[in-house]
Amino acid sequence: MKTLAIYLVCEPETPELAEAAVDGGADLIELGFPFSDPLAEGPTIRLASERALARGMRTKQCLECLAQVRARVDVPIVPMTYAAILEAYGYERFVADTRAAGATSAIVVDLPVEEHAEVPRVQLVAPTSTDERIAACAGATDGWLYLVSLTGTTGARSEVSPALAGLVERTRALTDVPLYAGFGISTPAQAAAVAEMADGVVVGSRAVQVAEEGADALREYVASLRSALD
């Protein structure tokens, strides 16, 4: 069975939304701790991050949100953020406090594999990564590898990236860890196509958009992805 990971930005409604996503069939929740200048994000997650920050979602509030999500769902919850947040909060303190609030690992988008080994995290590899770097990321990663399916920022695309197949092939040759692909995946058909190659699918921007319509809409959308994967 393929893993379905759904990304949501921490906001006051997020615990209820995360529960709906799990009801719809999500196996893992990525929780975005918003940063003011997120270099890897396309317009959807950038705007959602700006809105969350304007509503006061700083690190402390995000940790509370994480704990509330934990109280409602049993699946792994992975905080996803930027180095600036850990730099300010303290790297080891971030690990300790997210774990205490119920997190499984973390994703730090702009922290290369060479840096801050004291933060166990899911490493990201991209189509531009060399085989040497893919091997290093696979060796250091915490649980699974995040395949960035395209060279670009997050956000829906009309097609699955043609670069993904090659990245999966190169990575498979180097490691046995599970591979979940994200960036640019938004429709059930795309999720199904990606699941043909990878062990899991991460859906971010489109989930954030649908979440704005409420928990029922999100549950239905996640269920449509789930049935495409199974």
Binding site: F35, L39, E87, V109, D110, V113, Q123, S129, T151, G152
Partner: protein, 371 residues
């Protein structure tokens, strides 16, 4: 931290997608530095195209009773020191086989310098500029258009240099295989801070020789404005080993070194205007080129070690110095450089070197609007 660190500042805080391109840039830069033909080409372009060496001018009427020398980067082609860096990076980009250039710009000086070198070498050029900066630096937007560059307005956040830089980096992430990111200051992920410092260090090298020729001694103090800090690091570099005071002047509302804290912005750890959670704060300056919440990591290290000091200057003080230089010397300085001029007047020292990093034609509308 493994590479590109100045006393804990610097590094590479970027998505994995960019790391191989930074490795490639670092290797290409190291190779270029070992290749005498690279230095020879830059030297030739500097003399024949850019107008190097720029003169050193004694500003006697501006500062009676002192000997303030101005290093005249305002006389460089395109009107600011930015061309030193743009020329060097354009030559480097071609060595790396990149035919598309992206850049960010605040005041528009770096955008114009980038558009200029792209026209000179036949490279595709896209410049990101905050919509607010496009309003207050209109002439430079028009110049970039004439030079064949595409200027893309950035409407997010404060619509100034911080957002323009983020958008340029996002473009680079998307087009990294064909594109060189021609960053405009000594900021960003390693190796950019070092690369830009080296390309701008021609300012200090020339000025040091020129002032020794004129005065037969070194200046007591070198003064330069600091936004990202490229003209300052270029002016300071030649004097780091001398017994010469180094003073960087920040805009009071954008004093990343004076009032910032360690934080991560645009791929590097430095001193940044940020809150306790690491969220980046807004900067405010009349001068678009200084209106940036970050600063080059080497400046943060020079501040911490005490080798250089960094002082603030208000919009009003900069405006007063702008008018004073125009009226006493017949030189219209950039508003950025006017910050350095204002503080240079207050210093106790008698023999002062100021980096006049650019000319002020672009600022006329902004200055007259404050009259």
């Amino acid at each position: 931290m493994t590479s590109g660190v100045y006393a804990g500042y610097g590094g590479r805080y970027v998505p994995e997608t960019l790391i191989p391109a930074l490795d490639e840039l670092e290797a290409g830069w190291a190779e270029a530095q070992r290749d005498p033909s690279f230095a020879a080409e830059l030297d030739r372009l500097g003399r024949e195209y850019a107008g190097r060496p720029t003169p050193l001018t004694l500003a006697e009427r501006f500062a009676p009773g002192k000997r303030i020398y101005l290093k005249r980067e305002d006389l460089l082609h395109t009107g600011a020191h930015k061309l030193n860096n743009a020329l060097g990076q354009a030559v480097l980009a071609q060595r790396l086989g990149k035919r598309r250039i992206v850049a960010e710009t605040g005041a528009g000086q770096h955008g114009v310098a980038t558009a200029t070198v792209c026209a000179r070498f036949g490279l595709e050029c896209v410049v990101y500029m905050g919509a607010e900066d496009m309003r207050r630096q209109r002439p430079n937007v028009e110049r970039m258009g004439l030079l064949g560059a595409e200027v893309r307005p950035v409407e997010s956040g404060t619509k100034t240099l911080k957002e323009a830089t983020s958008e340029a980096i996002r473009d680079w992430i998307t087009n990294v295989e064909t594109t060189h990111y021609l960053i405009g200051s000594c900021v960003g992920p390693h190796p950019y801070p070092e690369l830009v410092r080296e390309l701008q260090s021609v300012i200090g090298r020339e000025a040091r020789a020129q002032i020794l020729g004129a005065e037969e001694r070194l200046p007591e103090v070198v003064v330069a404005c600091v936004g990202g800090g490229s003209n300052a690091i270029g002016a300071f570099a030649a004097f780091l080993g001398d017994d010469v005071r180094l003073v960087g002047v920040e805009a009071a509302g954008a004093a990343s070194l004076g009032t910032g804290r360690p934080a991560v912005l645009h791929g590097a750890r430095s001193s940044v205007l940020a809150d306790a959670d690491g969220q980046i704060a807004d900067a405010h300056s009349i001068s678009a080129g200084l209106d940036y919440p970050g600063v080059g990591p080497e400046h943060a290290a020079l501040r911490d070690s005490g080798r250089a000091e960094y002082v603030p200057c208000t919009d009003e003080e900069a405006l007063a110095a702008f008018h004073r230089l125009a009226e006493t010397e017949g030189i219209i300085p950039a508003l950025e450089s006017s910050h350095a001029l204002a503080r240079a007047l207050d210093l106790e020292e008698e023999l002062v070197l100021v980096c006049l990093s650019g000319r002020g034609d672009k600022d006329l509308a902004e200055v007259l609007g404050h009259a």
